[in-house]
Subunit: 123 residues, 2 copies
DNA sequence: TTTACTACTATGCATTGCATGGTATTAAAA
DNA sequence: TTTTAATACCATGCAATGCATAGTAGTAAA
């Protein structure tokens, strides 16, 4: 019968976008573990490590983490524009950071194992 | 106004599921780079590296890769049950494997950089 | 014939990255 | 004062994927 399901994706040719899923959350919590920051600061910090994040990604993510109780924020005045929302980790947010960190390390370990096992056929 | 958008997720507490997105594709292509295999074999190979994959995930993924021309398959008889679909990499599939491999290494590099930068606050 | 096992297929949901467009506040320019 | 630009935050909808769930079908054993 030869069914034709599972449509083919359109963009994201090298799969970068999909691989980022779940990882941005870890990175953002990481950045906030050092000091409170407002969105643009977070974007800059990520960019320094070649992880480009845009507003359309970051704002919903911060909103979600705040709704989950992982983050809190407070308004602070700015000398050059409108006031800013400074986000900070809550205790629950620190727990999540630990968990995500563990998950990430596990994943890297697993993938590395597979890649190394078959690397002779890749290179 | 304090809008309440960005609903909170329900399961997947430590974010493992989300982090796997895009990575399974790399791993499956990796496994197939060594030798042709049918779905259950792939699942076993992944399990050896602690990457649990289930049918509901694997079959649609194989179907998609085949529709994209990354994989091909041929039926082979089995001594203990119905015939099996043996999947193999096409040239295009080998290219994708290279690209995903690069993307993965870049991502790991970026995340490592962020995590290391702030690791004193995590531990 | 019935049961159990293996293998493949189909459907729908939840989550997240992101494109897009919008609103509000402040400061500088005209 | 009014206009413009820059900064910052918010809302909506789409695309993609992992996975739960349920179904179909072929083979072999009871």
């Amino acid at each position: 019968m030869e069914t034709e399901n599972a449509k083919t994706p359109k963009n994201d040719p090298a799969g970068q976008a999909q691989m980022r899923k779940g990882v941005l959350e870890l990175c953002i919590l990481c950045v906030l573990s050092e000091k409170d920051a407002y969105p643009s600061e977070i974007i800059e910090a990520m960019k320094d490590s070649k992880l480009i994040v845009v507003e359309g990604t970051l704002y919903p993510l911060l909103m979600r983490l705040k709704n989950e109780g992982r983050l809190a924020y407070e308004w602070k005045e700015s000398t050059s524009g409108p006031p800013r929302k400074y986000y900070k980790l809550t205790p629950s947010g620190k727990e999540l950071l630990q968990e995500l960190y563990s998950s990430w390390n596990e994943l890297v370990g697993s993938v590395d194992q597979i890649v190394k096992k078959y690397s002779s056929h890749i290179l």
